[in-house]
Amino acid sequence: MIWLTWRQSRIKAASAAVVLAAFAVLLAVTGPLLASMYAVSTLGTCQGDINACGAYADDFLQQLDASHGGGLILGAGTYWLLYLLGFVSILVAPVVIGIFWGAPLIAGEFEAGTHYLAWNQSITRTRWLAVKLTLTGLAALAVTEALSLMEAWWATPISLAVARGACCSPLAMNQFSPLLFATRGITPLGYAAFAFALGVTAGVLVRRAVPAMALTLAIFAVFQVAMPLGVRPHLFPPDHTIAAFSSFDSLDVPIENNTFTAIPNGWGDQPEAWVLSTGAVNTSGTPVSAVPADCLQAIQAASGKASHPALLDCLTSHGFEIAVTYQPASRYWAFQWTETAIYIALALALAGYCFWRIRRRLS
């Protein structure tokens, strides 16, 4: 059965190998260039902690942005594009696998009627399905995780810059940001397993490869949107704290009809935490939005400009602070494991359903 599975899927395996190899060559060529760029940058040569080198970290990331200066050999914008390409590849790999490996795996046999041939050899259809699912499923996991690991290796200088205090470049993403969280660590494994099992199940139910592919895409897209927006923030109860205005890298305070909203950026105290929501509170911890009378004068002095130091100072003098609802950075791996476990459990449940259906109910 292992032979047959390999024989049936070797073209798919070869195309996956070609894609992986192309990705690997691209990263292997550009990775060392990026690393040497880092080594000679002001950040790379800066010795010291965040306070000493934080400003250089953003400088380095801006070097990689298209609008700033040239790179060493490649144009600088290339790295930004490669970084994005890496994310897109890792995000898309599971669903591509689900569509092109999962959906036709069984539906293709049904369409061609070849399950009549396969199921009448001297091997039970449970074993037939087990071998097909295991081999193809493991390949799906391996391909996706390989992409993720290669990308993480390539982006080491960018991760270093973020860890050393970069805050304000579009490349400086928080580890909990949907893009980074879904492409690093072990979550790609969960997505790959789920997308593959989803494709197989859709194929078993619909019995036609193309509709099963469409169904796989639609359902997986719903999950990938619902998970980061609706489920992930609630996996663990968030922490609450009150932080001074000064603990943020910057604070916008737009004013409308004498009420203000505080929009903080970059939480210097816990730069790697996942901030879920923020809001201004007074000394007793009650949310506030009305601008105190004396501060209105400060605004007039500042001609209504938001974030003017005078306004911030005035609000601070009233004892206003920012209430932060957040997930501390220390929970990163708990989030990674939990989310991956959820997806793996879903994948196993779907696989179990396929076994039951193929054994009992199949026509």
């Binding site: 059965m1 032979w3 047959l4 024989r7 049936q8 061609a112 009627g113 070849t114 009549y116 041939l117 199921w119 009448n120 050899q121 001297s122 091997i123 039970t124 259809r125 009992r360 109910r361 199949l362 026509s363």
Partner: protein
Amino acid sequence: MTAVIETVGVGKRYGRLWALTDCTLSIPAGHVVGLVGPNAAGKTTLLNLATGMLAPTAGTIEVLGGRPAAGPAQLARVGYLAQRAPVYAGLSVADHLSLGAHLNPGWDADLARSRIERLDLSLGQKAGTLSGGQCAQLALTLAVAKRPELLILDEPVASLDPLARREFLQDLMEAVAEQGLSVVLSSHLISDLERVCDYLIVLVASRVRVAGPVEELLATHHLLSGPRRDPGTLPAGQQVISASHTDRQTTLLVRTSDEVLDPAWTAAEVTLEDLVLAYMNEAAGRGRHNHRLEAQS
């Protein structure tokens, strides 16, 4: 007489539609059994139940004394050539032989290779480019080379041209003679089966209308023609299968184990085709009759 397929009240429902209802039959071993019936009689459903491709909704079915597709051992004992002889279009003939060798412990590689050579199939050719007849031959090779005790074929020649039909059936008979297999093959065309079967089962609307060795069926059925007469006046041992009347003449197909002695009749030899058609018509007539009764009540 041991049975290769034994069913008791077996039925299969798809949603609200019954493809087979309350089917009870026993197919004896050591024969080439023709399973004949009109389209939608439930032949394919019955064979799919016998190979475990389907699970029955009602009743029980045993094949070679075991539950169909119960495990590798049971699967090894039954060869199945499904309708339209599915093969893997992307795999070569040689790949199919490897498939058979990998998935069947009892695989007879010499038999498979010699069959492929005799059939003039090239090993490297992709199965998707084979003709209908060649596909059927390849699928038969797979089914035969696993050395089953029972070979089940569902409409094996339906999609073949007359020449390929003859070749396929001849080839099948050689394999049967060499290996001493029991065979069950279905068809809605009696002419396909006439040449190869020695046992016949007529299945109409899930019911077995008649079953028995071909020779015995031919010996006990008579086509009688004579002056017009009410079939009800025949002797007790004579069962009328079909009757047709003109103003003066009556033609009957009767079943009897005794000789027909009445000198008023001219008795003629019955062909297998006449016999099968008579049973199919009888069933159809009875169906209409039942329907009328239901409408009245």
